[in-house]
Amino acid sequence: MSPAPVIPTDSRTPHWRAWLLLAPMVAWLVLFVVVPTAILLVYSFCERDEVGRVLFSFTLENYRRVADPVYLRIFLRSIGYAGLTTIICIVVGYPVAYCIGRAREDWRQRLLLLVMVPFWTSFLIRTYAWITILKQEGLLNGFVQQLSPTAKPFDLLYTPTAVVIGLVYAYLPFMILPIYGSVEKLDGALIEAAHDLGAGPLRVFSSVIIPLTMPGIAAGTLLVFVPAVGMFAITDLMGGARVPLIGNVIQNQFLQARDWPFGAALGAVFMGLFALTYWIMLKLGAHSEDSVA
């Protein structure tokens, strides 16, 4: 046994100058994350007067109202929509990400650029574009009419389908990018090794490619699912507010009902649930990371 090396303790404690380097980031976090969250939490325990001003008196009433089955149902519906969106994004995004990740190196950047191109125009404009496609006298119906003039025009806009289309469209790149990242890192020799050991294309996919790109799928799921649950603009514009999701309810509390404390309570619960999901995902991620490292 060799004696344990003596580590000078001060070599492990960052110098104050190191903290100084971190200062801008810490300031950013405090200003844009900690302070707003604190305000939200404080408001959620407050009351409001008749004109919607926040009164700083402690109450649990807002949280009691959150527990109302109406909100639970909306919350579950939001999770359903976001879940469906996530699944469609995986199914549609995986093949795209895989093809880009395994394309010739000089092609990858160009293909990735195509995935990002939609971000160059405003989100609202892109959503309005979808409206002109989906509405009854829109492009999609026009196209169908061209093919078969007798077909009855269908009404897609302001339906749950339209909402899901809008959500998938908006979040697909957030699924493609992380999956692309893990596909690109995948060592081609592993695929060849699996072939060499007798695995046909399907077995290679299920036994090697999927498990090794799981971190990308997990990251993409997080990036799509979390914001999709809280999305309100798409549900408003493409769902015509007929299918309110939790994001719409919260938005309403702040902008229309002017019940900030209740909106804050909804937001806080919502955030707590995400923190929990995220924590679970991290645990799972850390587990799979351990096996992939």
């Binding site: 060592d187 020799a189 592993l190 060849e192 090794a193 699996a194 072939h195 060499d196 050991l197 007798g198 695995a199 046909g200 077995r203 036994s207 090697v208 498990p211 090794l212 799979s288 351990d290 096996s291 992939v292 490292a293």
Partner: protein, 366 residues
């Protein structure tokens, strides 16, 4: 012995670049064949053509008497040990080794028994539950070997499997691989750029250069009778000398080599009708002594000449000498450091050199 792998006039082009150029090669069942050549000469491509990762542009690949040219890798009775090992990082050692058996739908209890057996074969018993990143380089190499062997392939392909190991481990793995191959009787096709490794392990060596096989033969043949300048230069060390024919009788020819030294070699070794040729002289075949009458000269050493030691490089078991003959020819020779009582050579010494006529090899007629 029957032919296991048969490459028939195989050519592989990548665009306009020819990586494998009209190679024909028959590998016998149970043979240890090494593809030896410098980096970029097409060794890996040849292996990939046998494994099925690439299909030849021209020619065909036969394994066990069957044309497999267009069979995918997962339908060929061949397994490979990859240069990077390519172990599945998400699977344990046992799962890695059992992967091939799982793909063949082999019964679970039988598979487990075969995995245990394969791990024992490569001395990895007890590491079943580890993940690849918890293993040393040498252990990973063994897992890769076990993973391929457990499938009982007809042919095992090994692409520079030892190149990532340190010299000592490498040495012991060479012997172990050779032992395994004898024990299992599987045909091995081994790729290396290390000539010493090739000489140690192989039944036969194919010298690959520029996508072609330059020479195919046993280690002995390759070393003692190199067929080309490249083969002579790449395997071991050689003095390559341009020789000009001076005179010939019914048994011998007399030639003058670069620098002016005159040498005798058997008529049979000289290419008929040639006036110039390239000859190779192995440095350890030259006997060096301080006295002309020394017994160090083997009988029949028809080439005896004087030289001065220009440089002496001590290398432990051997001494490396750079000699300049009276005529001005420079030669590298190696002498054994037999004992402290034998001749001790220093730069500047005048020495006598003896060389058997049969130890001169014509590698190319010009």
């Amino acid at each position: 012995m029957s032919t296991m792998v048969d490459l028939r006039a195989v050519t592989k082009r990548f665009g306009s670049f020819t990586a494998v150029n009209d190679v024909s090669l028959e590998i016998a069942e149970g043979e240890f064949l090494t593809l030896l050549g410098p980096s970029g000469c097409g060794k890996t491509t040849l292996l990939r053509l046998i494994a099925g990762f690439d299909t030849p542009t021209e020619g065909s690949v036969w394994i066990g008497g069957e044309d497999v040219t267009h069979l995918p890798p997962y339908r060929r009775p061949v397994n490979q040990v990859f240069q990077s090992y390519a172990l599945f990082p998400h699977l344990t050692v046992a799962e890695n080794v059992g992967f091939g058996l799982r793909m063949q739908h082999i019964d679970k209890t039988e598979a487990a028994a075969r995995v245990t057996e394969a791990l024992a074969l490569v001395s990895l018993t007890g590491l079943d539950a580890r993940k690849p990143h918890q293993l040393s380089g040498g252990q990973r190499q063994r897992v890769a070997l076990a993973r391929a062997l457990v499938c009982r392939p007809k042919v095992l392909l090994l692409d520079e499997p030892l190149s990532a190991l340190d010299a000592k481990l490498r040495r012991s793995m060479q012997l172990e691989l050779k032992r395994l191959q004898r024990q299992l009787g599987i045909t091995f096709v081994f790729v290396t750029h290390d000539q010493e490794e090739a000489l140690t392990m192989s039944d036969r060596i194919a010298i690959v250069n520029g996508g072609r096989i330059e020479q195919l033969g046993t280690a002995h043949e390759i070393y003692h009778r190199p067929a080309t300048r490249f083969a002579a230069d790449f395997v071991g060390q050689a003095n390559l000398l341009e020789a000009q024919l001076l005179l010939q009788d019914s048994e011998c020819v007399r030639v003058a080599v670069t620098g002016g030294l005159e040498l005798t070699l058997p008529l049979a070794a000289w290419p008929a009708g040639a006036t110039v040729a390239l000859i190779a002289m192995r440095p350890e075949k030259v006997h060096v002594s301080k006295s002309r009458s020394s017994t160090a000269f083997a009988p029949g050493a028809a080439n005896i000449f004087q030289a001065r030691i220009e440089e002496e490089i001590f290398q432990g078991a051997t001494d490396h000498l750079i000699l300049v003959t009276a005529a001005g020819t420079r030669l590298g020779v190696v002498v054994a450091n037999e004992s402290a009582l034998g001749d001790i050579f220093h730069a500047g010494d005048l020495v006598y050199c003896g060389l058997h006529t049969d130890d001169l090899v014509v590698v190319k007629a010009e």
